[in-house]
């Protein structure tokens, strides 16, 4: 790799040129912004919209914005939202049908033409999106959802239409939250691949610059319109130090050694009862998880009975309907639902998709209203490997 050609250094004015160059290519810019006391991903137009000088304080069930003593633009970890919201929207229309006036009582269907059958595919997504400030764990999460929605025999038109052509500007994390454990999941903190451009924010006294790594041809094309200089050894070493420091300050750790067999061998561990006593079955953990993909389908009809549509919305394995099979829910107890969530994330996902379903972003820990911690629960199962309750529960 030739650092001089693939890595450049830009300042804040250069960052604005970079954003403008992406926007000129017809992309809708989406990036971090402060809203209601948290950092969310929203439409932005320049670096002025970024959370300059803000950081976040995170722990189980706890998130607060705090002031930094510098003007860092990316000086925080991940917030409650992930890019999932833009690629796999919380609610979308699967198909729509309108009763053909001449067809009398014919219920119609997707084959009836015109108004019928159009899903929220590419058309629903509008302009192609550029994600600004994607963290390494999030790139990994997007790759995981790509596999879920685009891999295999059937591709998902809603996801595919939005995912197509997304421009990815990654940011290598400059600090880890107390809830981060991407290092354990081999998912960060440095973005290794899957981006068009990757930034490392370099803050050093008076200096406020960004090392830009170019990942694709279109990334290079954008950079050709941005004022900057080739990166030298000082800058690449400074960037390496940023990553090293972040990696060394992970707030949480998860031991993944043999985790699949560990969880498969502990369906009756009494720890599940313990966590069930604390869990609200509220579903927040699955909503904020950047890899959770479950949805439910709802039929919507108008009063007159002339139009019908199927909507899909984010669902969660913590709802009773999620495992409802004719006559009842298979996972009726909180214990079986928490176990489903954690076992899917850390174990069955591996059999299903070939990777872990967890990228160590820590969102499920922070946004659990009672601060239940997947790393702590996994450690507790490991510490009591093989334990069983007084008697089996017999629930699935």
């Amino acid at each position: 790799m030739e650092p001089a050609t693939l890595q450049r250094v830009i300042d804040r004015a250069g960052l604005d040129q970079l954003l403008a160059a992406i926007a000129r290519r017809g992309f809708r810019l989406i990036g971090p912004a402060v809203r209601d006391g948290v950092i969310v991903y929203d439409d932005i137009s320049s670096s002025a919209d970024l959370p300059a000088g803000w950081t976040d304080e995170q722990d189980g069930g706890h998130y607060r914005l705090r002031r930094r003593d510098d003007d860092a633009l990316f000086g925080y970890a991940v917030g409650p939202q992930s890019w999932k919201r833009y690629l796999f929207p919380p609610t979308s229309v699967v198909w729509r049908s309108a009763r053909d006036k001449d067809a009398g009582q014919d219920p119609g269907g997707a084959a009836d033409g015109d108004a019928n059958g159009a899903p929220d595919g590419a058309a629903g997504a509008g302009a192609p999106m550029a994600f600004i400030g994607v963290r390494s764990c999030e790139l990994r999460a997007i790759a995981i959802q790509d596999r879920v929605f685009l891999g295999g025999q059937h591709t998902d038109p809603v996801y595919a239409g939005r995912r197509e052509g997304v421009f990815l500007v990654a940011v290598n994390c400059g600090q880890a939250a107390a809830t981060c454990f991407c290092v354990s999941m081999d998912a960060g903190p440095k973005a290794e691949s899957g981006f068009d451009l990757a930034l490392t924010e370099l803050l050093d006294g008076e200096r406020h610059e960004f090392l830009v790594e170019i990942g694709t041809g279109r990334g290079a094309d954008v950079m050709s319109e941005v004022a900057g200089r080739p990166a030298g050894r000082t800058e690449t070493q400074a960037a390496d130090r940023v990553t090293e420091q972040t990696a060394a300050s992970m707030g949480r750790h998860l031991d993944t050694g043999g985790i699949k067999d560990l969880l498969y061998g502990n369906f009756e561990n009494p720890r599940w009862d313990d966590v069930a006593g604390r869990c609200l079955t509220c579903g927040n953990c699955t909503m904020v998880c950047p890899t959770c993909f479950c949805f439910s389908i709802t039929d919507v009809t108008d009063l007159a009975g002339t139009e019908a549509e199927q909507q899909r919305s984010w669902d969660s394995c913590f709802t009773m309907d999620h495992s409802y099979i004719h006559g009842g829910s298979v996972r009726a107890s909180s214990r079986s639902r928490y176990r489903q969530w954690m076992t899917h994330k850390l174990a069955t996902w591996i059999d299903q998709f070939g990777t872990s379903g967890c990228v160590g972003c820590g969102r499920c820990i922070t946004w659990c209203p009672v601060g239940i911690d997947i790393t702590e629960e996994a450690a507790a199962i490991r510490a009591s490997d093989g334990a069983t309750g007084e008697e089996g529960h017999g629930d699935a």
Binding site: R35, D36, G37, V38, V40, G61, H62, Y63, R64, P80, Q81, R85, P90, T91, G277, R278, C279, L280, T281, C282, G283, N284, M287, V288, T298, D299, V300, T301, D302, L303, A304, G305, S313, W314, S316, F318, T319, M320, D321, S334, T366, W367, P369, V370
Partner: protein
Amino acid sequence: MTGPPRPTLAVWKFASCDGCQLTLLNCEDELADIAASVQVANFPEASREVIAGPYDLSLVEGSITTPADAERIRAVRDASRFLVTIGACASAGGIQALRNFREADEYLPVVYARPDYIDTLRTSTPIADHVGVDFELRGCPIDRHQLLDVISAFLHGRKPSVPGYSVCLECKRAGITCVMVAHGTPCLGPVTQAGCRALCPSCARGCYGCFGPMETPNTAALSARWRELGVSRPDVGRAFRTFNANSGPFREEAEANDAP
């Protein structure tokens, strides 16, 4: 109006504030469609014209608080093919169910000049305690989208789309900041059934529990969290004792916090 006969709709009021009936009248954009799809046969709040029963769909607002109403609800049930309760009063007993936890006789002389004129039951109870109910629509007041969905579901013979999960799912889908995690504001959302579109959290307030207990509420775990956030036991109990005070899980959690 030509075409096939429309199903008849009746709206009934028991002990309540009228807010849920008003939700129906507030469906301004849809009122014409409602009138086109059902024949409003008995809805004194909207029209003085009353068509005799039986009715295809009865919407019942309010709880049962007097001996006369306990009789009247039977007649309503007999005259209705489908009976749907609307709101926390009809579905859970309402705020007036606070009387269930005290002796109503103690209050009567304080409130009324001539308590001997008052003929009341000692409890406020939901409609389902008295007659069979086909569907209970929660909320204080109900949500107009859910009401329209229930009417539409009835008209087209499908299941209403009224989920039993928590308000938190609505919060997260709408991208609303969690007031409990990000602001430290106590919120009943995790134990409360969705339906309001997370109205209070969207205004940076904690959920008040208007839609009653969600399908599998862990009220004890939420209470413990509220106490960590600095809420006293009596205040936790009061939070559970509002519009759905008489709903099992909320009633029990309030009682658990009464204990010294």
